[in-house]
Amino acid sequence: MTYWCLFQMVLLLCFSTTALSRNYSLLRFQQRRSVVVCQKLLRQLPSTPQHCLEVRMDFQVPEEMKQAQQFQEEDAILVIYEMLQQIFGILTRDFSSTGWSETVIEDLLVELQRQMDHLEPIQKEIMQRKNFTTGDMAILHLKKYYFNLGQYLKSMEYNSCAWTVMRVQMLMNFSFLKSLTGYLHD
């Protein structure tokens, strides 16, 4: 009887099909470069008074951002797109109080826009397959986090202290984006 079970197991192993995975090599390459450019641009912006960072704010950073390893490829793409969108949204707000270079901010926006253009057709395809209304929790958590950032900026009347805090948050976001691109494998 045991021989029979063994034979079945062997058969199963031999004829199991391997799952097909999408090839995101081009996308991954573009993403990684884009993130590096954005980080360089962000670092060009001067970090104004350090005392602004001493105040601890709880923006309810999503748990998903603290542990990147739980993402599948498709989820990673949705998260990346959402983050690019939200960072773009923040950078379109009034930063005149900071004295930051408009050119640098515009370059950042251009880069973010370019990346979103690359991701959009893939994102659309994934969204059509998935049912968003089942509540993709990671996306909701992200939206809550970025909403908190926006409300904080508004409450501080877009002063340079608030923007300094934003800059730190965005640098952290880009680090996370970089690790996410690792999930777009061949």
Binding site: F29, V110, R114
Partner: protein
Amino acid sequence: MLALLGATTLMLVAGRWVLPAASGEANLKPENVEIHIIDDNFFLKWNSSSESVRNVTFSADYQILGTDNWKKLPGCQNTASTKCNFSSVELKNVFEKIELRIRAEEGNNTSIWYEVEPFVPFLEAQIGPPDVHLEAEDKAIILSISPPGTEDSIMWATDRLNFRYSVVIWKNSSSLEERTETVYPEDKIYKLSPEITYCLKVKAELPLQSRVGYYSPVYCINTTERRNVPSPENIQINADNQVCVLKWDYPYENTTFRAQWLRAFFKKIPGKHSDKWKQILNCENVTTTRCVFPRDAFPNGIYYVRVQASNGNGTSFWSEEKKFYIEMKTVIFPPVISLKSITDDSLHVSVGASEESENMSVNQLYPLIYEVIFWENTSNAERKVLEKRTEFTFLDLKPLTVYCVKARALIENDRRNKSSSFSDTVCEKTKPGDTSKTWLKAGICTALFSLPVVIYVVRLFLRGVNYVFFPSSKPPSSVDEYFSDQPLKNLLLSTSEEQTERCFIIENASIITEIEETNEIDEVHKKYNSQTSQDSGNYSNEDENSGSKISEEFLQQDSV
């Protein structure tokens, strides 16, 4: 026990029915409670379970799911109607699940709470109508659309820039000629006729979440009369490494032109950005229908360009805005293709970046589409496909056939039609067809089923070997039948056993017989002696002597 349980349940159920009747319908429950959210407006609607006009009021509470802190829902306290507006609720954010409950009250009596299914406001919310401002030109209408909700909207705070607007426009005179266009918040609708009344309505969409909003009211506007100075048309840009050449069409002479550019992402941001358009130097007050400017003037990126004409009679409206990708060296490397056969009727294609493009600096990357040429190796019939994705599959192919693929990369939406050279041709054979597959499956099944048979045959063989070389001590069954008697069986079977009492010495057989006879004679004699015991005195010696004499004679005979 069971009967007791059943009886108790019956009583409880009956009690529930009975109690409201007993209290005279005081505890009316709200029914069919529904939540409606449009932008930042929250409504609660329900039905009352009684139709009679009494002093029934309703109150509602809310809490964040997971906390245990019911708070009063503002705008829904002691309300007599069957709906309330709780938009003034101060939610920290709209991305957390909310619980609502509502009950009816009459005097001091209250019904039980009706609890609404917990929901996430952001996911429940419907997109309201956008706010639209129109400005008319002679052949175009300028749209200024504000996103749904107010500027301080909490609901759409994270998605303000993600809205796309779908415009339906028609001539007021004939509503049959409808046109639908998707526009940015600040955009124009072109190709209209002068001095016509156009009507339009706009709805906002979140395309990436597949959510569509309500249409705005219908707005109508008249296009102006045709302007004396027409706008330039058919704008094109050609770029090489050193310069960019901007060209357009214009029907008249003696006109000066100026060109402006705008970074593309500004289109996504609501609000007028007319101040963001910048003049292209070298393209100001030009009198020809082309202007040349250095590549260095523009950092790499995506731009919109527009041109305006002016002459003695006035200035034209701005031309159509054209989108361009401006890059330093528009070198596109050929892609790298890989083909994989998945099933018998499909081939999976993977398009990858070549090694050289991996080494390129990042500014030279832009959205590419791929022109893929696909043909069967034996025929020359080529199929041409334009693909934006880097992974796709060709279907409806023939099994066990070799197909070949080559591709080149193109810049998307580029007027220049700049493309790379073709990649290397890659060929792959599709998998065997269904018939071969079924033969394969049949083969596996027979192998599976023949295995126990094989094992059985091997066992039989081993048994035969055992039988021949290591025979067992059991007799064949026929022998068993024949001999049913137990001792005789033992006789035949136990050949190794020796019956010592029956073992004779053959040599002295005759003496033995003789001795036996003499013994018999002796016995006879003895009998005789016993019988003739009266004469025993006289004959005894003679008998004895005769017996011994005979034996001596015989012995002598023998020895001779």
